[in-house]
Subunit: 456 residues, 2 copies
């Protein structure tokens, strides 16, 4: 491999880190549907949203027009601590697969949060600080978002209250400890510290929690506490905006190398990493300047895109949040207990939902044992131990590369390696010991949850 | 900070990764003392060493003459998977300390092994494969070396048997799982699978193990198994040779930036990271071309340099290894159970021992609560969660920077950030909960172990 022209890793110069986020919505003909007030079913106003979210973030949430939004210097400075992230040519994986495909991945795991989540966490913490707030509240599932937010809050000296889905809190005590190192206050959810938590515990004693529950608790605390706002690590338009830094860097690096991807693949839970990765590519597609195959990969156990419906739904179990139009399984859907890692949210980013509904991207679902097979293979040949979430994208990147092997096509594949799996060793152990099982909800189960969608 | 000239992170180009290791011994006037046969007390011959180590590695171990040794292309190719590692300007730490000092660190934690250990693991696995061996055996303490070797063996399809110090095996189940992902076979040490393990268990029932025990077990298995050799992650001359890639990259990056360090700081357990980091700088010092203050930092609970003696000693508890002349506390010294992380080896690299004895470097010891204070501060301001081992260097870098604050001197400090602390959350938790204690062995205790040094 000595003669290759393309390096293993391409780092942009620090001066090439994007100075503005790209707002896909500006180029969308069909804009994502607005958030609705759950009481009046009218679009949420900036004023209404301002009770829950920081003012500047509300403006970003509602902004369907500005194509670029400048990244404040303080955030740029923090980005330089761990960005640019490398664009990696997966030579070792290509060789192991014997594929003519050229595989690239954008690796976002080289920071202590272990994932891309820091890109939005630092932005959200910055605007909270700018507004003079005392602190923020949030939920976390697998723990990456909570860790990222803790780091960001430590940097700006903000208080950080994290509601962690109980099953993760128990399975991942070290995740909790990392958050504590950064000074965060971590509570397992559902908890008895909130009204909604008490209600959920009464209705479902012994529940292991869900993102939907944890969101409700975090929102309740934010709304009831002076000087606090709620922040969210995925789903929202503002989060996709911040995460566009992933795609902008990836595209700049590929442009520098003179390479154009044919297929772009990302895992999708709430959609933040995928939305960020595809942003500038989708922008070209929306403007008719280029075409790309874009594939969202979701777990078969939580198949919002592939088996959900596109409808207005609650973002949380407690139904305190605005209604969002999105691909959803129903707000009380909780993935089976055998489901490992994140990607367990019942809904999907409204922006991605609209793009998917418009036929601008595809979606596939994969079973978790197949995902961990891909993860272990990737770890052994490419060195990096991937997060279970990221491994969904690896699975499909491998599948697409193997198709190229059959057809002889030299396609260029780009996927998002969103994070590392250091805190997911319980899941790896299960897989290794042959105790990991797959779960695919039946049509009947899904219909049951779907029947609870709000009707209006 | 927008106007700074020096970037936060400096990455060399892939083409600038060193193609030869630098062998400090070639420039040392006083060579490190040779390894001795424990039976005859004569220098170990290549033939004798060849029973335990791979042939090419024996040649490197004994080579006091060649200044540069070419890095085989296969190893260079693997290095490109995770190297060059970044040289980071610690702007955030400088700001937090309010120091005029300029602090740099070479960060070796951006790979799944979580540390610099991979630099030597891949080299040792390569030479084992080249020799046509079936596999290798080794010991691991904190687990970084075992992980690195597992990754390297997976890459070359070698079998990998790891004896893990029992206390770490129990405290760090996830470390073990990572090794299993890479296909390694991990046994807690002392074990009943070896003669020496059985003997140690008989003499010390309930022992939590030590590196010295684990080495003895790994060597026994290597010597008794057809097609196996033993490999070691520190102490040996060959390991320092491989680790010179750290210092060569650091110096190349600093030269590029036009910066010269005044003080170079590294943690020291067996000496591999420190020896690697300082190599090219020490080379200039040995050749009289430049001067640098070089500081080894060791734990107060295992103070080989600062309170040990420079003498021939056994490298392992079972006394099956060659004798090495080194700063040592005695081969049956085991750090107190409250000691967190690695840096628990009773001896020190013979190369570094000679350099220290010649007054070419300094050593200080630090207590672990002070180390974790520095670790937590570093995590919060620089983002990266450091390994406890690396945090020893952080502690002294901070202390030196604070001295500069007092004197107003603008010294340039370079330290080695050898790894990340993702698998050390038990220790962080203890620190956080105020349950971490310090331990300094008394003179009487040290005298007791010293009395057992071999006499001849």
């Amino acid at each position: 491999m000595a003669e290759q022209k393309i390096p293993y890793k391409t780092y942009l110069d620090e001066s090439e880190i994007p100075t503005a986020w790209y707002n896909m919505r500006a180029d969308m003909k069909n804009k994502p549907a607005p958030l609705l007030n759950p009481g009046t079913h009218q679009p949420m106003t900036a004023e209404e949203l301002g009770g829950v979210f920081c003012a500047d973030l509300v403006a970003q949430e509602l902004d369907n027009d500005n194509r670029f939004i400048a990244i404040p210097e303080e955030i740029q400075s923090f980005y330089r601590m761990y960005r640019p992230s490398p664009l990696v040519r997966a030579y070792f994986l290509e060789k192991a697969l014997g594929t003519p495909a050229k595989i690239y991945y954008k690796f976002e795991g080289n920071n202590t949060s272990g994932s891309h989540k820091l890109n939005s966490a630092i932005a959200q913490a910055y605007y909270a600080k700018k507004q003079g707030l005392k602190g923020v509240t949030t939920e976390t599932g697998a723990g990456q978002w909570g860790t990222a937010l803790s780091m960001a809050c430590a940097y700006f000296g903000l208080d950080c209250k994290v509601f962690m889905v109980k099953v993760s809190y128990e399975q991942k005590p070290f995740r909790r400890e990392v958050m504590r190192v950064y000074g965060a206050d971590v509570t397992p959810s559902p908890s008895t510290t909130t009204e909604i938590g008490k209600k959920i515990l009464e209705a479902h004693p012994g529940t292991t929690g869900s993102l939907g529950c944890a969101i409700s608790e975090a929102v309740e605390v934010a709304v009831k506490s002076e000087g606090y706002r709620y922040v969210l690590g995925s789903v929202l338009n503002q989060v996709l905006l911040h995460q566009s830094v992933i795609g902008l860097e990836a595209k700049a690096a590929m442009d520098k190398l003179g390479v154009k991807p044919d297929i772009i693949i990302g895992c999708a839970g709430g959609g933040s990493n995928l939305g960020g990765l595809i942003s500038p590519f989708m922008g070209e597609k929306l403007r008719g300047e280029a075409d790309y195959r874009i594939i969202a990969v979701e777990p078969a156990s939580c198949p919002s895109f592939t088996r959900g419906v596109y409808a207005y739904d609650f973002c949380d179990t407690g139904m305190v949040c605005p209604l969002a139009k999105m691909y959803t399984l129903g707000s009380d859907f909780i993935p089976s207990a055998n489901h490992a890692g994140g990607l367990r949210y019942h809904g999907m980013s409204p922006v991605l939902s609209q793009l998917y509904d418009d036929g601008l991207m595809e979606a596939v679902s994969v079973e978790q044992t197949k995902v961990f097979e891909a993860a272990e293979m990737f770890a052994r040949v490419e060195g990096t131990l991937p997060a279970p979430e990221s491994s969904h994208a690896i699975r499909v990147a491998i599948d697409e590369a193997l198709k190229c092997k059959e057809t002889g096509e030299e396609k260029t594949i780009l996927f998002g390696l969103t994070g590392t799996g250091y805190f997911d060793m319980v899941a790896y152990e299960k897989f290794h010991d042959g105790q990991m099982t797959d779960y695919i909800p039946t049509d009947e189960e899904l219909a049951k949850y779907r029947a609870n969608l709000p009707k209006f």
